[in-house]
Amino acid sequence: MKFLTASVAALALLSSSQAFAPAVKPSRIKITQLFAGTKITMPALSSTMKEGKVVSWLKNEGDEIEAGEAIMVVESDKADMDVEAFEDGIIAKIIVQEGEMAPVGEAVALIAADSSEVEAVLAEFNAGGSGGDATSAAAPPAAAPATTAAAAPEVPFSKIDMPALSSTMKEGKVVSWLKSEGDAISAGEAIMVVESDKADMDVEAFEDGFLAAIITQEGESGAVGAPVALIAENESDIPALQAYAATLSGAAPPAAAAAPAAAAPVAAAAPKAAPAAATPAKADGERLFASPLARNRAKELGVDISLVTGTGPEGRITAADVEAVASGEAKVKKPAASASSKPSWTPAAGVVAATPTARALAKKAKLDLATIKGTGEFGRVTADDVLIATGQKEPERKKVVRPGAAVVEMPSGPVAMTGMQKAVSNNMMATMSTPGFQVSRDIEMDNFDALYQNVKGKGISVSALLAKAVALAIEKYPIINSSFSPENGGTIVYKKDINIAMAVAIEGGLITPCLKFANERSVEDLAENWKELVEKARKGGLKPDEYQSGTFSISNMGMFGVTQFGSILPNGTGGILAIGATREVIVPCKQAVLGMKKVKQMTVTLTCDHRQIYGSDAALFLKELANIMENNVNRLTQ
């Protein structure tokens, strides 16, 4: 309550309590004489006003008030208005809290003539019926639930309540605390930013003191009028108030929780910081291991011995080392600061070498800047340095860059997968339950290659030829084209169509366009179809039937120079063939002049589902494939 809600109260547009007579002064409250004290009643701020809301109290209970002093802001149907006291006194009791409504004429607060009468006024008020306040103010029994507020400590303090920043505001969010716990605050100083439905507003302290405990943290909301923080009059009372605040917040005691939390980063930072802080000192006064002779020679030759690299035992500098430097044979050691790319600079006494943001962050985290190693200009502590010290940011390792080489920036951190990438990931996981096995074989490619050289002019691609060859081999061993089904405790599902799917890497994923009926169609037809499919895949225009209908798959990485690899078997199929690069090898050959010959060779690896396809099936299939590609390449173009 000890707050000015800056710029809320309308200036000089106030009507008097009874009519609309324009007055520059804020309206004054009618104070009704009542027993020991007086009552402040809800004023009528316009002729149509039936009830009013106390937007904010500018004074707190126990505050002295003077006639003419604005003590609260009341919302009428027209505007928020400052309301002034008519006479001097002390606010003994606030009956209508901020944000609450009261009918016109009803008491909103009690005023005592002086401090000695406060008790009497309160006693009479409590006797008057609404004694609930008195009980709630009493100390709760020891067994009281944690949510009940403990008795306030016997120290002078005040509460900061969530102010009502607009007429429609029911609760407010603390956007940010401009002060940290323990900070000294002075009247008129903005201490927090509160978000209302109209604007974000600075809320100012109304008196000097110390921000003892924050009850409503940044980002949290509080009902209008609910306490958001406690202000201590004396710095020494802060711990007591923090303990009290813990009972107010109803959650885990923030003071108790905050203390270890605050201490932890400091403790964590200390070991890190200690060597850092010691480094320059060590560099300056580093003990030089040099033989007396070396020192004398250095003097004679005018060599700075601190720049000589020692080659003696344990790095001791010998006379020879000095002579080597003097003659130019050995290079001068770079000064100690060379480890850091930033210039070595010792700040003048009393200078805090930290940027404004670093200072603010360190203060908030209750970190001593002196314990943080600075990486900014002139060794200054930057915001990042503080964030690293508090563990809010990963330290950035300085890259070692060779002169003239460009810095390679590696991507870092999580990146959401595209839909296609997610689909690939799911499909791969689904294969985990398949007992796959792999069989490899070399295939001589001279004839195949000769054929390709012959037909590539017609637009026939290697992919089309491979698909055709595989499809023809499958004709002979249809088991390879089958899939396993758990139905009836195990069923082999044969497929009458041979649809060859081939993996294509595209931007952001992987897809397997499919050449249907590859055994039946001409290789020209397959080549043309393949070209279309790849084009469609790149543009993302494949229809499901065009990439989901494969019965057998081929993955070819030969063009990348891969010699051999194994593929993962796609679900719902029996086999996938991984194709390596064609390379020239020397093989034994009795007929050849030297007993060996040079052939083109390719290694293929078949992955199969062992539930229905066995090693011999795989071996026979590969043998047939080799037979077609080595000895019957004409079948491909027939």
Binding site: S7, A12, A190, K198, V352, A360, A383
Partner: protein, 520 residues
């Protein structure tokens, strides 16, 4: 291109008949002499900033033969070292700030993939190019309208009607002389400016590098604009302000809002009530700039900081040295030339000072209002008085703007001054406010922060002052300035129709609110 023709004719004429008054008279002035009787020209304008330019254009419009002594600085401070290039820096850095503001972009449904980068030299070049272009346009308009531009700096001689070209030593004669020498940055004692690590706005506009941490001495509009540029480009800023409040010249309510929008949410901190008593330049990468601060009142040392750069934005002082003022018996005060409201030069600022006939002073040099457009208005006013139509500039109706993001704009006195004035003059002050958060256009831009407050005389309804902080405030202020100038009442303004949906409706809300109407 008209000037070329004129020159050719002048050459011909000179050769044919006219005998020059002085032996070194140029051919051009010879022609002018023919038109101006006993003088070479009707009007001389010393200084070619925005003020001098405005005066020259108006003089030509009145048919006066006009010469401008540019001092090799056509465009002056505004165009070359001030308003214009700084707008280029603000435009570019503002974009960087916007594009780096992930949350704001996200609220509009936009994400920027990868880092937003800028080329410092590119931004600096943009500023230089803009200044050169505007300067070129300005020169072209002078030449095109037949103003004689004399390259040298002009100075007064002991004789009335005379101006000496400092470059050539030639003396020209004029019926009337308008002084428009402008101003230069003020550097307080103890501060050493090297224009590299410690610089004024002159050096800052070149944007030679982007420091990690820059101290800005002075939190007026120049300092504030540069803090906007620097923080957008990644620097951290510390303001050093001698007054008790940051942004001391602004309306308090606006300053408080500005503190939240332009300072607190940015990597900026500040010290108030301190002087930067000693500022020692550094060497980039080798030695930081050392700033020793003392308490403004006790003069005791309070803090020393070591920063990468320091910008000195502590105001400007008149550029009136070495222009022969003393030859005409003029006594300046801190460099300022005293003028009456008709812009006629007075012998001094003292009471009883007398008017020096046919001599005027406009712009920063008279200190009435150090704004480019105020100088131009004064220049036009001076010419009006020269041609015999008495004219006085209403400085209360001259708007001003600070081009931060968001902008701040104002016309008329601050609310604090209004309250005092109303009290002293016995009228009732009214106040009404429009909110950007209640404006559809502002919300569409995701820029709902800001207010526009209208201060008016409740007795007459006339607008006294308007202060705006918010999106495009500098554009919104014009309507208000016109209202102040024309004496339009809030009653009249409340009935004027504002385009929907535009930011101008923020003003509509305030005008309507002033007469008890709701705009929404």
């Amino acid at each position: 291109m008209r000037i070329l023709v004129t020159s050719v004719i002048a050459l011909a004429s000179s050769a044919a008949a006219f005998s020059p008054i002085t032996t070194f008279r140029s051919s051009v002035t010879a022609l002018e002499a023919s038109k101006c009787g006993q003088y070479d020209f009707d009007v001389a304008i010393i200084g070619c900033g925005v003020g001098g330019h405005g005066a020259a254009l108006h003089a030509r419009a009145q048919g006066l033969e006009t010469a401008v002594f540019s001092g090799a600085d056509i465009g002056g401070t505004c165009v070359n070292r001030g308003c214009v290039p700084s707008k280029a820096l603000l435009a570019a850095s503002g974009r960087v700030r916007e594009m780096k503001n992930d949350e704001h972009l996200k609220s509009l449904g936009i994400t920027v993939d990868g880092e937003v980068k800028y080329d410092r030299q590119g931004i600096a070049d943009h500023a230089t190019n803009l200044a050169n272009r505007v300067k070129g346009n300005l020169e072209a308009s002078l030449v095109g309208l037949g103003v004689q531009v004399i390259e040298g700096r002009g100075s007064l001689t002991g004789n009335a009607h005379e101006v000496k070209d400092e470059a050539t030593g030639k003396i020209y004669t004029f019926k009337d002389i308008i002084l428009a020498p402008g101003s230069v940055p003020f550097v307080p004692p103890g501060i050493t400016v090297d224009e590299k690590t410690v610089f004024t706005s002159d050096g800052a506009l070149k944007l030679p590098y982007v420091p990690e941490w820059v101290a800005i001495v002075g939190s007026g509009y120049i300092g504030l604009e540069f803090s906007d540029v620097y923080t957008a480009l990644g620097s951290e800023v510390t303001f050093i302000e001698a007054m008790d409040n940051i942004m001391p010249t602004f309306d308090r309510e606006i300053a408080k809002m500005a503190e939240r929008l332009l300072i607190r949410d940015r990597p900026i901190d500040y010290r108030t009530s301190v002087f930067a008593a000693e500022v020692i330049p550094g060497i980039p990468g080798e030695k930081p700039v050392t700033i020793k601060m003392i308490d403004a009142k006790t003069k005791e040392h309070v803090e020393t900081i070591e920063v990468d750069a320091a910008m000195i934005a502590t105001g400007r002082v008149p550029n009136t040295k070495n222009m022969g003022l003393e030859n005409r018996g003029i006594t300046v005060n801190r460099g300022f030339v005293a003028v009456n409201e008709k812009m006629e030069v007075l012998t001094s600022h003292d009471e009883g000072a007398t008017v020096i006939p046919n001599l005027y002073c406009i712009g920063d040099a008279n200190g009435k209002m150090m704004l480019a457009h105020a100088a131009s208005a004064q220049g036009i006013s001076a010419v009006e008085n020269i041609v015999g139509r008495e004219h006085v500039v209403n400085h209360e109706a001259i708007p001003a703007a600070c081009f931060t993001h968001p902008e701040i704009a104002m016309v008329g006195p601050t609310e604090e001054q209004c309250i005092e004035r109303a009290k002293a003059e016995g009228w009732t002050l009214g106040k009404s406010q429009g909110n950007f958060r209640a404006n559809s256009k502002a919300l569409a831009e995701g820029e709902g922060q800001g207010i526009a407050k209208v201060l008016f005389n409740k007795d007459t309804g006339k607008v006294v002052a308007v202060h705006i902080i918010g999106l495009h405030a500098a554009d919104l202020i014009q309507e208000c300035a016109n209202a102040v100038a024309a004496g339009t009442t809030v009653q009249e303004l409340s009935m004027m129709v504002h385009t929907h949906p535009t930011l101008s409706e923020v003003m509509d809300e305030a005008f309507k609110g002033a007469v008890g109407m709701s705009s929404h």
